[in-house]
């Protein structure tokens, strides 16, 4: 049964790719028609009146289908004590080579000849990376999803290891990646006039998803400023709090405070229904239809009035 649903969804996806022109639809998702009264939980800010579903929400086709979701899993294994190595005047390249890669275990054993003579911490580390067949596999601790930076290219361009990796402490990779990571990449790319499109790093972006998403919002913003990194079916606030798409106005309101205040009072945005009873609040994205370029679009005006000379 689930397989059938998946097949149907895939078919839909193909179908819709052919027709979608709105950049919002580049996700390959059929947007539910905006109809009043659909069951969307009423946000507290609308005094209990319902809001129609936002024009884009991950309802039937979750983002997480592609963006493998979930929080980064804490790695229980001990961290590589980089600090101690560097303290012995070693260079990164001594272990990682010119084309930096995770060294093989034998590189370690060039110095650490006899494990039994090593301190307890080193013994524990190797115990942890021991494979089933008795060998040692030193692997990347947290996968950066599909992004594998071209280290040779970076080195050639004169980017020091520390520019990205920082001054390696004992456990630099045990930390969660922060949003600032990608922002730092992009900032640096832009500063050095290096290519900075999504595909530069995200090699696996499939056509045409996200291809049409052009960010014409405030300067220096990036996807993960608003989209929750760990769970793409949600948005996020600056403090990392998850926000459902139905409450996207909370995300918008972080910068557009006066507008949020006005919207709550009915001074900004549109409401329909009863002036003295049940009315429907529209969300920011109902009018600013493309949150990636939220500027209100130009419109074709309705025809002008007849000139008095033409009334006859």
């Amino acid at each position: 049964m689930p397989l059938v649903i998946l097949l149907v969804l895939a078919a839909c996806e193909r179908e819709h790719h052919a027709t979608f022109e709105d950049p919002l639809h580049a996700h390959g998702i059929k947007l539910p028609p905006v109809e009043p009264g659909l069951p969307v939980p009423a946000p507290a800010e609308t005094r209990g009146f319902p809001v129609p579903p936002p024009p884009f929400s991950p309802g039937i086709f979750p983002c997480s289908r592609c963006h493998v979701g979930g929080e980064p899993v804490p790695d229980p294994r001990p961290a590589m004590p980089h600090g101690k190595h560097l303290a012995r005047d070693m260079e990164c390249a001594d272990c990682h080579g010119k084309d930096p890669k995770v060294p093989e275990a034998k590189v370690c054993f060039e110095c650490h000849e006899d494990l039994a003579k090593e301190p307890q911490a080193v013994q524990a580390y190797f115990a942890a990376v021991k494979t089933a067949d008795g060998g040692y596999a030193l692997q990347r601790r947290v996968k950066t999803r599909d992004v594998i930076p071209n280290h040779a290219g970076h080195a050639k361009a004169g980017v020091a290891c520390a520019t990205c990796h920082g001054e390696p402490a004992d456990a630099p990779f045990a930390k969660e990646k922060s949003v600032a990571w990608m922002a730092r990449c992009v900032a640096c790319h832009e500063e050095r006039k290096a290519p900075a499109s999504c595909e530069t790093c995200h090699k696996e972006i499939r056509e045409p998803q996200h291809k049409d998403v052009v960010l014409h919002h405030a300067e220096g913003h990036h996807c993960l400023d608003c989209h929750h990194e760990g769970d793409r079916d949600y948005l996020r606030l600056a403090n990392g709090q998850k926000v459902p798409f139905e409450e996207s106005y909370r995300v918008c309101g972080q910068c557009h405070g006066p507008n949020l205040r006005d919207w709550k009072q009915g001074l900004h945005g549109k409401r329909t229904g009863m002036w003295d009873g049940e009315r429907q609040y529209l969300l920011c994205v109902h009018c600013h239809r493309n949150p990636h370029a939220p500027r209100f679009p130009s419109m074709v005006p309705d025809p002008p009035p007849a000139r008095p000379e033409d009334i006859r």
Partner: protein, 416 residues
């Protein structure tokens, strides 16, 4: 014989009197009849299709009809110019003209009412605006007041002339205790009708061209030119055609009064132009449209300058005694005044008030043939009324139309 029976005889006699005349008379009546028929046909078309057959539209919602109404109210009011000196100062030469002035007022007021009638969108609901029958919105609506005072003024003039004529018809001198209070009352009423008409425009703060306190004084000043100008021409026509004994002294006196009135009219115009031009607020737009045109739209410019030129020229013709007392220049002056004031008080008053509109739109109002024909018909009605009434009046004044005790009916001696 009692007054009421004499009145019946007077009416019957009058009907006979106006039915007979020279071929010129019949020709004139026939011409007016053609005008009236043309007007009636045009009005029938307007009733059938609506006011869309006019050039009036939302931006300029009053035009030719109301402009004529305004001008004619002034003419009607000007009868007072003849009444004041005649009755208050007992000027012999003018007294005989007063009856004609009041007849003119009656005929012109009838035209005024017709011009209002043809202008309204629902003539079938005219009872709504009648005193007592309708729901006249007094005291707040100036148009309601205008309807009231015009009706009163109309009845007043009609009453006074009827009384005077019937008295003379009976061979008696009119009882001053009856008609003098009415005449005295008609003087302020004349000022009132024209002032109230001015106030209809004046009380609209959204229309700065009209919302100037000089409007009512200017209305009166121009009325005291145009009304007598018409009277002077009519009197000369009647002198020729009806043997009416009119002394030149009276005509010169009237012309002199007109010169003063025209001076005031021009002075008020200068005062208004100065105020608007020097202040240079957006109120100037209307005057600019009238005299220079706006955005290349210059429909009124020619009319406006014609009006000013005619008024100034007439002022000098009437100011200088030599030209005032010369019949040719006097008549030229009368025609010039008529042209000047007619333009100024009709199209030159109404249309610039609406142009540009309150939202800044410039619609060039250009009356349609249908409007002209309806107007022609109304002027035909007015002229016919005046012709018939003055025919009776002249014969009464000449003593040729008198009640004779012996004969069972009034003897009518029709002059050639």
């Amino acid at each position: 014989m009692r007054f009421d029976r004499a009145f019946l005889r007077f009416t019957a006699g009058s009907a006979k009197l106006v039915a007979r005349g020279s071929s010129y008379y019949y020709g004139w009546i026939g011409l007016l009849a053609i005008f009236i028929v043309l007007g009636a046909v045009a009005y029938a078309r307007q009733v059938d299709e609506g006011l869309i057959v006019t050039a009036l539209r939302d931006p300029v919602s009053w035009g030719f009809y109301i402009g004529n109404f305004t001008f004619l109210v002034g003419v009607a009011a000007a009868a007072v110019v003849l009444v004041i000196p005649a009755y208050i100062y007992h000027w012999k030469p003018i007294k005989e003209l007063v009856i004609l002035g009041e007849l003119l007022a009656v005929a012109v007021l009838a035209m005024c009412m017709l011009f209002v009638l043809v202008d309204v969108g629902r003539p079938d609901r005219l009872t709504h605006i009648l005193p007592l029958l309708g729901s006249l919105n007094v005291p707040s609506s100036l148009l309601a007041w205008d309807v009231l005072v015009l009706n009163i003024y109309f009845l007043l003039n009609l009453g006074v002339v009827t009384y005077l004529l019937v008295s003379l018809f009976r061979g008696r001198s009119p009882n001053p205790y009856i008609f003098m209070p009415l005449v005295m009352f008609s003087i302020p009423m004349a000022v009132t009708i024209h002032s109230v008409t001015a106030f209809v425009y004046n009380g609209l703060p959204g229309r700065p061209f009209w919302n100037a306190s000089l409007l009512a004084p200017k209305f009166l000043a121009s009325a005291f030119c145009s009304g007598p100008a018409i009277m002077l021409i009519l009197l000369q026509i009647l002198r020729k055609t009806a043997n009416l004994d009119i002394k030149m002294e009276a005509i010169w006196k009237i012309a002199e009064l007109m010169a003063y009135a025209m001076f005031l009219n021009l002075f008020f115009l200068v005062a208004e132009v100065f105020k608007e031009v020097y202040s240079d607020t957006h109120h100037l737009q209307h005057m600019r449209y009238l005299f220079f045109g706006l955005e290349g739209k210059t429909a009124l410019v020619g009319w406006a300058w014609t009006s000013v030129a005619a008024s100034v020229a007439a002022f000098f013709l009437f100011l200088i005694p030599a030209t005032r007392k010369n019949l040719v220049t006097l008549n030229v002056g009368c025609v010039l005044i008529f042209i000047g004031v007619y333009i100024e008080k009709s199209i030159g008053l109404v249309v610039p008030g609406f142009t540009p509109s309150v939202l800044g739109e410039i619609y060039e109002y250009d009356p349609t043939m249908n409007e002209f024909l309806v107007g022609l018909g109304i002027f035909g009605v007015g002229a016919l009324l005046f012709t018939l009434m003055s025919r009776v009046a002249i014969n009464v004044a000449n003593g040729t139309f008198r009640l004779t005790q012996e004969a069972p009916r009034a003897d009518v001696d029709v002059p050639a």
